[in-house]
Symmetry: C2
Subunit: 199 residues, 2 copies
């Protein structure tokens, strides 16, 4: 029962469904994902998925949850280069955030964007996850303030709100193709670092 055997009914639907769904979303966008196409792709009947996800929303939420975990990992990985200087640290963080978002729109689109999960099921459960995600950033800002690398004129909360908004906005506008020059991405990130962290 190595979690992926072929012997059982399917072995590991749930997981397979999530992965297949992510692929469909990557190729065709969130609106291109239908439960039935998904079931087809995986080779089960239309309503098999409903034994693993209550809802389509539930599926999307699960994927979004994955997204939060994956982005956090990616950011941690980018930073784990020992005790770098503050400037390097900031640049690593900013670039890691935006890069991951731009490279994984199939997740990022689901992580934020009420519209997707504003259906019936989880109006709150999910905002909570993103708020938790944000809180971790606030703590990061607090550490930076305590170590004296950024000023204290603004509370950590306010500073975090504005700067994170910027990261989020940059990511969204790049994903949505409004900041069209993909090569500008790095320049924008470093401009953001200049403005917010004076690096």
């Amino acid at each position: 029962m190595t979690t992926a055997k072929k012997s059982y009914h399917h072995g590991d639907l749930k997981g397979t469904l999530e992965e297949a769904a992510v692929e469909i979303i990557r190729l065709e966008g969130v609106n291109g994902l239908s439960m039935r196409k998904l079931a087809d792709k995986v080779g089960v009947s239309r309503s098999a998925p409903y034994h693993h996800f209550e809802d389509k929303q539930a599926l999307l939420s699960a994927i979004a949850h994955r997204g939060f975990v994956l982005q956090a990992e990616a950011i941690d990985a980018a930073e784990c280069q020992g005790e770098a200087a503050f400037e390097a640290q900031v640049m690593q963080f900013v670039n890691a955030y935006v890069n991951w978002a731009v490279e994984h729109p199939e997740y990022y689109d689901l992580m934020f964007g009420s519209e997707v999960w504003q259906g019936n099921t989880p109006p709150e459960q999910f905002a909570q996850e993103s708020r938790g995600y944000f809180r971790r950033y606030v703590e990061r800002v607090q550490r930076w303030q305590r170590s004296g690398h950024i000023g204290q004129e603004l509370s950590a909360l306010r500073f975090a709100q504005v700067s994170w908004s910027s990261l989020h906005g940059i990511s969204r506008l790049l994903i949505d193709g409004i900041y069209v020059d993909k090569k500008a991405q790095e320049a924008i990130c470093s401009a953001a670092a200049t403005i917010f962290f004076k690096v």
Copy 2:
């Protein structure tokens, strides 16, 4: 034929449809809008709208277009208080932008967010509209730079990209309920003004 009489077939479908659609979106979100419900609400048959909008996308695009116009008007109106001091000007602009977005999510959700119009019809036509909108902001930044109110270390384009991202991000996160404390809105705006424009 005063553009809204009852005598003709309908008088002014198109307009009526747009307004009704906006109302549905306000009440039920973008996903709550269906062409058939819309037709019902207006009192015509399901496929009447298709003679005024090629697509559902076309309808959404029209609404988004309205949104761009309306927000621009709202911002102009907020600023048109003569020649205010730079600080007041900035605060007016920032507040006008975010306020309008938060108060009109039914439009703002459509104005940005590729997902909505990434269907078949207009992949470019629309990114163009938002990019045009952004360009006007770049020009604004250029004026502020020329008048010496903001520094020139960064190009107008970069500065505009980062600061507008922030406005957009703030708006999105407020709309999506991730910055939960609605009362914080003003504080966030003024923090943004502090960071970007030193006011």
